[in-house]
Amino acid sequence: MGKSILLITLGISVIISLFILRLNANSKEGLSVSVNMFKQNQARLISNSGVEVYLEKLKADKSMLDKTFTDNSLFGGEYDISIEGPDTLVKVTSYATFDDVTHKTIVFAKADKIPFIPGPGAMYLTASTISSFKKTGIGGSVLIDGNNHDINGNLLGDGIVTPGIAVDGNAQRDDVKDIISKNAIDQVLGTGGTPSVATISNTVDWNAYALQLVENPDIIIDTQTKIKTMNNWGTISDPKVTFVNGDISLNNSETAEGCGILVVNGNLSINGNFTFRGLIIAYKETNIEIKLNGNGKIYGGMVVAGNSIVIESASGNFSTLYSKPALDHVASLLKTNRFQIVSWWE
């Protein structure tokens, strides 16, 4: 009897063991199905994120073109990136591995060129700016010249002449002429005699254009400390969009120069030398203040679309020289940092 019970017990144990093993195997297999799906998703996310990460990096560093970057860690996995081609059509290949699952993404993208709108003259003042301009405005040794100059500020004398200061209406024109007369501004040259203040028909929303530019600038200067490391705001061969946001002061040890488009929102005090080729836009609800004790030179144009502007050339010189070559040059080379996705394969 005892042996029989032992046999029966063993038999039941074997059946139960086999049953449990079977269920366990199925459970494991079911789990692996779910886990594999998770791994696939994770690998896909790593691969796609890798593309986005490196397109962002490429914005700031064009030397990354035609290079490969391997073994980047992300989300517990790894991805390799290869970047090929010019930035007009760059191919980014991302190959991600998460555990034993891989995912490949191939993306073509192009550097998105922003529209360039040249200023209508050496300086353009909106009506809202002129109302504040009456009180403080402009003073000192100032040259605003609507005659065409080359990119280095040399007068071309090619017959292209624009207003020294362009405004929106005759009332504003008279106001500005009055300011110039009162403040004994040296020279405002260009169309319409001296001082050259002319009424134009402006169709550009400069605030909207400035906002579009500052959405994705190449350089952002929003603290004084950044000036120490970023005092070159574009070169002739590589113009940039620079956004100065806040109270920034340039002194002799932090001399800045640049080429491209400079958007200013805040107080920009220039006490050293400053040369900029291209277009400067002062915009938004804040006030811009340019205090010059050094030499400020703008070759291209300046648009003031903010609430107010104060240009005081205390002991230095300030010149805004209209330069069609500079504006055309910037227009031909300027790119944003943004890459536009052309196609996405995964």
């Binding site: 029989s4 039941i12 139960i16 079977r22 490949k104 191939i106 196609s343």
Partner: protein, 194 residues
């Protein structure tokens, strides 16, 4: 007499134990079948998800015009270059169509509701495959604000829902009934090229 009672008693107890073992064996078999079936449903659902995920992420790839041609609740037709850059066929935009066959196409299975997901490439290359227990498939389309849309140009997201059942009936409720267990899968894809 005592010996006879012992024999009858032990036979009775032995019989009960034997029946218990048989019942246990049957139960374990049924449970195994049910477990296998559920696993197969899960695997089939994953296979279907992978197939559609692979294709739907390519909607509009290398296509300059409106990528989606038909956007019905149970049928989608779209343009996409299905080939990887640098491989044969790359550069030619394909026309891909997904729809469901009638249940008669999968008559080899016991499940009366299962259908075959059919993928047609360029109008000729038809790929049907086995039914995989698919019983229902619903596509929904959303614009960039995640609002449902039927405007082909506005579609930015494609939501796919499908239900997969077992191919054969299995016993449920401790063998008192038979039925087709099912699983539900949902995925929303944002094809990057539309």
């Amino acid at each position: 007499m005592n010996v006879l009672i012992d024999l009858i008693g032990s036979s009775f107890i032995g019989g009960i134990l034997l029946l218990l073992i048989l019942k246990l064996n049957l139960y374990s078999q049924n449970t195994s079948i049910s477990s296998d079936s559920e696993l197969r449903i899960q695997q089939n659902a994953k296979t279907l998800a992978e197939i559609m995920n692979y294709d739907l992420r390519k909607v509009g790839y290398n296509c300059d015009s409106t990528a989606i041609v038909i956007a019905d609740s149970n049928k989608i037709k779209f343009y996409a270059d299905m080939n990887e850059p640098g491989t044969a066929g790359y550069g030619t935009v394909d026309l891909v169509e997904y729809f469901l066959s009638s249940p008669s196409k999968s008559s080899s299975t016991t499940n009366p509701k299962d259908v075959v997901l059919t993928r047609v490439l360029n109008g000729t290359d038809t790929l049907g495959g086995p039914s995989l227990g698919l019983v229902r498939l619903v596509f929904s389309y959303f614009d960039k604000g995640l609002a449902a849309t039927t405007n082909l140009d506005s579609i930015k997201y494609i939501k796919t829902e499908f239900w997969v059942e077992s191919l054969e009936p299995i016993e449920v409720n401790f063998g008192t009934q038979t039925g087709y267990p099912f699983t539900y899968w949902e995925m929303t894809i944002n094809p990057r090229n539309i």
